[in-house]
């Protein structure tokens, strides 16, 4: 862990055109202050990989409204009519991925696996253009791993070495994404001294985390 950054400084580190894994499920467990800083910086041409596109005014919805995004990889965009319109108009490219496949593709990318073999999507539009393999008499789709330039996480607590723990349904994609970003930036609700998060409660070891976002003023 290299230290704590203000959101604006973190947004400066993220160049236009970068690919971002962003934690959250309908904006629960999403790093809102980091997103606000990206919008304030006028970021452009980002690829966002996330469970969903949240809704206008929250989380990833704010990046869509600001036209900071050119490509979205997600399982669900149903609560973001703005993104659906931009997708149909061809202004933002959207790749829809089944939720369980998406999290495993990210996990595969983060843990050094060459992909995922899953039955999900067989015989549907999802299988188009993908390889199929048989293992033990069952057919699986081959789904490729995902990594990104940055992982932007939200956590409940961080300690001074970057260990993270999460609260309730705000875990979602965050612990998996922590492995798959080349630079990992975590925005915790609070930062506590080392030892306050017991080792058994650490879900993301600090060795994975490059930067924390400083506490909210």
């Amino acid at each position: 862990m290299k230290g704590a950054l203000r959101p604006a400084a973190a947004a400066e580190m993220i160049p236009d055109g970068a690919s971002l894994l962003i934690g959250g499920f309908m904006a629960v467990g999403t790093p809102e202050r980091l997103i606000d800083a990206l919008v304030a910086r006028g970021a452009k041409d980002l690829t966002v990989i996330a469970n969903d596109a949240a809704m206008p005014g929250r989380g990833i919805g704010k990046l869509v409204t600001a036209r900071a995004v050119s490509r979205v990889v997600a399982s669900h965009i149903g609560l973001n009519p703005e993104l659906q319109k931009l997708m149909i108009a061809g202004e933002i490219e959207v790749e829809l991925v089944p939720q369980g496949t998406l999290v495993e593709r990210i996990r595969a990318g983060g843990v050094g696996l060459g992909g995922v073999l899953t039955p999900t999507g067989l015989g549907t539009e999802v299988e188009q253009g993908k390889q199929k393999v048989e293992v033990g008499g069952r057919t699986f789709l081959v789904e490729e791993p995902i990594t990104a330039d940055f992982a932007l996480l939200a956590a409940y607590q961080a300690d001074y070495v970057g260990n993270l723990c999460y609260s309730l349904t705000a875990h979602n994609f965050n612990p998996t994404m922590a492995l798959a970003g080349r630079t990992v930036i975590a925005e915790p609700a609070s930062i506590v001294p080392v030892g306050v998060i017991p080792p058994d409660a650490v879900k993301t070891p600090g060795v994975l985390v490059d930067h924390l976002i400083v506490r909210a003023a």
Partner: protein, 217 residues
């Protein structure tokens, strides 16, 4: 009793003690209202909780505890919070006893379409493809028709959710079991005749000599 309540109460009758059950957003989520606590059923919300509880009292919501539709919930004693990889591991891995989902179309092969109306509505599949592929038992809870058109059709015209044959369809008119031979009419709603059901159904139905009246929880 309105159509949705009738459907929810009939589906609730399918739930057995100790099951792990995932309820979809909307009508399926109403099923929980008719499942007695003493059955010891755990409801999973795929965003990350096993042991979903009722909405908390006004002003006591936790922003980090929501269901998969983003609504505030509580957690029952014995609940566990999990990340998305675990959540979909449970779903795809055969650890989920039952899922109840909505549907746009069901066909004579028992296949479901529920995630996309090309050119009109593209919300994304979210977790639906994993749920239908992986759950031990898949129940579709939906109204029999939409805008006057039967949703039970000879062949799905909308993109499929999975190749898997679903286990049971519950509507406000009937309970229908997809089998290898086709769609078998099992039960009629109170006051609804077999002729009413046939007239409201675009698909052909196999009608056994004995058709029971729906049992409601």
């Amino acid at each position: 009793m309105d159509a949705k309540e009738l459907i929810a109460r009939r589906v609730a009758h399918e739930i057995r003690p100790g099951m792990l059950v995932n309820l979809g957003i909307g009508l399926p989520s109403m099923v929980a209202n008719y499942v007695p606590a003493e059955l010891g059923v755990f409801f999973q919300a795929e965003n990350g909780v096993i042991g979903l509880g009722a909405r908390p009292p006004e002003g006591m919501e936790d922003e980090n505890l929501t269901d998969a539709g983003g609504g505030f919930v509580s957690a029952v004693p014995g609940a566990a919070s999990i990340d998305s990889a675990m959540s979909f591991g449970l779903i795809r891995g055969g650890h989920l006893d039952m899922t109840v989902l909505g549907g746009l179309e069901i066909d004579e092969a028992g296949q479901l379409a529920n995630w996309k109306v090309p050119g009109k509505m593209v919300p994304g599949m979210g977790g639906a493809m994993d749920l239908v592929t992986g759950a031990a038992r898949v129940i579709v809870a939906m109204q029999h028709a939409a805008r006057g058109a039967s949703k039970i059709v000879p062949r799905c015209t909308l993109p499929l959710t999975s190749l898997r044959r679903i286990d049971l369809v519950v509507t406000e008119l009937a309970v229908i079991e997809p089998t290898e031979e086709g769609l078998v009419l099992r039960e009629h709603a109170p006051g609804v005749s077999v002729e009413d059901i046939r007239a409201a159904t675009a698909a052909s139905l196999i009608v056994p000599a004995e058709i029971a009246e729906m049992q409601l929880a």
